[in-house]
């Protein structure tokens, strides 16, 4: 794995080095080409949403001749709006429950002397090794037995259960390194554990909570297997499954499908752009341990 970052064999002087500039240029070119390769498919996807069917078939590379916003309206009405709302509901609810249960558990494991702490820690963190796909068939029977098949609850509960391990991992690692001054002070002042948790610890954990929330939102929003199997009603489908159903429907009007894909991609991109800094900071604080 040789780094092809600069021309070898020449000693570098501190500061800007002229001799490595060709290497720098090459590296820049590689970075830019790569960036274009990464972003172009998405640009193509968006442009295709504006084309007509004939244009799509005729000239894959070209720009649309007219900007057909009606494709987007059509996609919106064909179901994107419904799927979007469903995704928001399920994602929002599961973020709340996951963060809540995970921080409660993380706090308990790091601050309270609960019985079986070791075993519980292993149980909670070990869950990271168990995957949704593996659990599909048994869950299938379980969800049906609990009579929550084809409801939001099925997804919310499952998304929470399967993400608690990772979220506990993040929050716990962060809580371990928090200095306990303020908590101890609050306890001395007579605050209950509950109050310390909500009023002192959670605000201090804001960076990791934001990061964990974003990661949870990302997971829930894009989750596919459970949404595919446990939701049947078209009105309840989340975005990933709904888009697949749309592909089965708009078999001959592809620009509408591209418009749907574009609209579906936007929320997460926007969310990421807005939360980028918190996200990165949270990751670095969480993984730095």
């Amino acid at each position: 794995m040789a780094g092809n970052v600069a021309r070898p064999h020449r000693p570098e002087s501190p500061g800007r080095a002229v001799t490595g500039s060709i290497g720098r240029v090459i590296a820049y070119v590689v970075l830019v080409v790569f960036a274009v390769a990464i972003i172009y498919p998405l640009v193509w996807m968006t442009l295709n949403g504006f084309k007509s069917n004939a244009e799509l078939f005729g000239d894959a590379w070209g720009l649309p001749t007219t900007w057909r916003w009606e494709n987007f309206a059509k996609a919106w009405n064909l179901g994107v709006v419904r799927y979007l709302l469903n995704s928001v509901i399920v994602t929002g609810a599961s973020v709340v429950t996951t963060i809540l249960f995970s921080s409660l558990a993380a706090y308990a494991l790091t601050r309270l002397r609960i019985p079986f702490a070791g075993a519980i820690t292993v149980l909670l963190l070990g869950g990271m090794m168990l995957a949704p796909t593996v659990a599909l068939i048994p869950l299938f029977r379980l969800i049906q037995a609990l009579h929550i098949f084809d409801t939001y609850w099925a997804l919310i509960i499952l998304y929470t259960a399967f993400r608690i391990p990772f979220t506990v991992f993040l929050i716990r690692a962060y809580m371990i390194t928090l200095s306990r001054e303020m908590e101890d002070a609050a306890i001395v002042d007579g605050a209950s554990r509950w109050q310390v948790f909500w009023l002192v610890v959670m605000p201090l954990c804001r960076p990791i909570i934001v990061s964990a929330s974003l990661l949870q939102a990302l997971f829930a929003w894009n989750e596919f297997v459970f949404a595919l199997v446990f939701i049947s009603d078209t009105n309840l489908k989340t975005l990933p499954v709904g888009l697949l159903a749309m592909q089965g429907r708009v078999l001959s009007d592809w620009p509408v499908l591209f418009a749907a894909l574009t609209m579906a991609a936007i929320p997460m991109i926007v969310l990421f752009l807005l939360g980028q800094r918190q996200f990165i900071r949270g990751l670095s604080e969480g993984f730095g341990k």
């Binding site: 021309r7 064999h9 020449r10 590689v30 590379w61 609960i114 990933p240 752009l273 670095s284 993984f287």
Partner: protein, 297 residues
């Protein structure tokens, strides 16, 4: 500090109760149930389950699609480690070293964006890109006068799974790159300065300083990519549903197809048990490799 009464200590379990209950019921119980379910033959239409003992596992061992799916998962893992972990590491290093200021943020964002987009969206998008007639890839090859290289990418057994794997690299390399950037930013600049004064090239600095110091992140990235590789479902299901001729199945999609198309749920449960064993073993193995090897600086 034994001010907490005995009752108080047990009531503290309430803090972890929701998490533990959810995990026990929905994450751990299915693992056990899978084993039981795999010992029967049953499907959506059979009124009752038929005990077949280890038959499902015997059939699994003799099933060429199972082995092909396993191979696909392994291929996925190997390629992902090379491109995502290896490539991500190099990209991160280049980005950190060469690009500064606003440009760094821009590049980082651009590379990362595919990772936040749903696999369904990218799967459907790449289905079009790989379309033999109007897709970007064949058109690009045609434009570069490389017509001979054109294929029906998702329609040929030989190329289907590799096309999907390639798409996956496109999607995830930015994610791993960001993880590495996070790790690299914690390395003190002075180490590099000292190395350069001593005459080291950038490549040497990379090998001797960067790589060892991001070791923890490397291990984490490897765990993520390898276990992700064995759990692949979404993109394969969307792009080819395992075809053509079952060539692009991964263990996950073969499980799904066995259960919900081929009417063999017991068999699917057996596949699930195998996936479980593989992912747990891989995770434990990787963690074991990393035990106590923290590099101090």
């Amino acid at each position: 500090m034994s001010q907490t009464s005995r009752l108080g200590r047990w009531s503290m379990l309430l803090w972890v109760a929701p998490a533990v209950v959810l995990l026990a019921v929905f994450v751990y119980y299915p693992v056990v149930d899978n084993v039981f379910l795999s010992l029967y033959r049953w499907n959506a239409f059979s009124p009752k389950e038929v005990w077949v003992g280890l038959d499902n596992y015997v059939n699994l061992a003799a099933d060429p699609v199972f082995w092909s799916a396993l191979f696909n998962n392994v291929a996925y893992a190997v390629v992902s480690v090379i491109f995502q972990v290896g490539g991500g590491l190099i990209l991160a290093a280049v980005l950190e070293e060469l690009v500064h200021g606003r440009w760094k943020g821009l590049f980082r964002t651009v590379y990362f964006i595919p990772a936040v987009i749903s696999l369904t969206i990218t799967g459907l998008l790449f289905q079009f890109i790989y379309n033999p007639q109007i897709g970007l890839l064949n058109q690009l090859l045609s434009g570069l006068r490389l017509d001979a290289l054109q294929h029906s990418w998702l329609g040929e057994s030989a190329t289907a799974i590799w096309s999907i794997i390639a798409m996956s690299q496109w999607q995830s390399i930015g994610y791993v790159m960001v993880l590495f950037i996070v790790a690299m930013q914690r390395i003190p600049r002075e180490l590099y300065e000292a190395a350069y004064i001593d005459g080291a090239t950038r490549a040497q600095a990379f090998r001797r300083i960067t790589v060892p110091l991001v070791r923890e992140m490397t291990v984490l990235a490897m765990i993520i990519t390898v276990s992700g590789a064995f759990l692949v479902f979404n993109e394969v299901q969307v792009m080819t549903a395992g075809g053509p001729n079952n060539s692009s199945h991964t263990l996950g999609t073969w499980l799904y197809k066995s259960a919900f198309f081929n009417d063999q749920m017991g068999y699917a449960a057996a596949i699930a048990v195998v996936i479980f064993l593989i992912t747990v073993t891989a995770a434990i193995f990787q963690l074991f490799l990393n035990r106590g090897k923290v590099v101090q600086y």
